[in-house]
């Protein structure tokens, strides 16, 4: 059954995982909860995909810099 408090903890930790190394118990919690809660699993997937899109944007910029294309001005 979905527990809002547990889901909130999952979402907080899933986000914090982008900023710090989680402890083994925190990682285990994420794994167990994601397996049991499809909503949270989907939340994690969406968050990861959306923020990765920003990272891709960065990669595109880096590649452009590597290729040495001049800035348009």
């Amino acid at each position: 059954m979905r527990n809002p408090l547990v889901c909130r903890k999952f979402r907080r930790l899933a986000t914090e995982a982008r900023d710090r190394e989680l402890t083994p118990s925190e990682k285990a919690f994420l794994g167990h909860h994601a397996a049991a809660c499809k909503d949270c699993e989907e939340f994690e997937r969406q968050t990861s995909a959306s923020l990765s899109a920003i990272a891709l944007r960065k990669a595109a910029r880096s590649l452009r810099g590597t290729l040495g294309r001049p800035c348009t001005r």
Binding site: D19, Q46, T47, S50, L51, K58, R61, T72
Partner: protein
């Protein structure tokens, strides 16, 4: 903050830079040019990430150097020029975002067959543009510039707790916008 790196080489670079800062404070143009050469690309990049406008980013970077040199007496640690000019640049970007007129919040949802286009940089930038400026800047500094919470707090002059809450809100809003665009 924003040290060039670790080890003897980075120490050497930092000492070079401290020397240039002293000379720049005395008005020596050659040292100013050396400082500009070393930091210009980084400033243009962060300004471009925040403002999404290459031309404006170039302007802001120049403005940041001018302001940094004009107020160089405020820099207490001559080895900290990098962070000093970076902070000035980010704040100038925020000033520009504040002064921009509110743009219409129009955004057509992407259709299913446009799903792949969501990775297009232009689309991502349009999504970022829909975030409130303080959330956008915080998100860019973390996800693109990869600054730590402490560094973001220092640059934006806000408590670390504020950085955390803004980042949380920014990620949530960006996720929602991204879903809306994906359809």
């Amino acid at each position: 903050m924003f040290k060039i790196g670790r080890g003897a080489r980075s120490m050497e670079l930092a000492l070079d830079e401290a020397h240039w800062v002293v000379r720049a404070r005395e008005g020596q143009e050659h040292s100013m040019r050396l400082l500009i050469e070393r930091h210009r690309n980084r400033l243009v990049r962060v300004a471009s990430n925040i403002l999404r406008d290459a031309n404006e980013a170039e302007d802001v970077a120049q403005e940041a150097f001018l302001k940094a040199f004009r107020e160089l007496d405020r820099l207490r640690d001559d080895q900290a020029f990098s962070g000093y000019v970076y902070r000035i640049c980010v704040r100038l970007c925020m000033d520009r975002l504040r002064s921009r007129r509110a743009e219409p919040a129009e955004f057509e949802s992407a259709t299913a067959d446009q799903g792949e286009a969501i990775e297009n940089r232009v689309v991502i930038e349009r999504l970022l543009d829909r975030l409130p400026y303080d959330l956008r800047v915080t998100l860019v500094l973390r996800e693109v510039e990869q600054l730590s919470y402490d560094e973001i707090a220092e640059v934006l002059r806000v408590p670390v707790g504020t950085v955390r809450s803004r980042l949380h809100a920014a990620r949530e809003k960006f996720r929602a916008l991204w879903l809306e665009a994906v359809g």
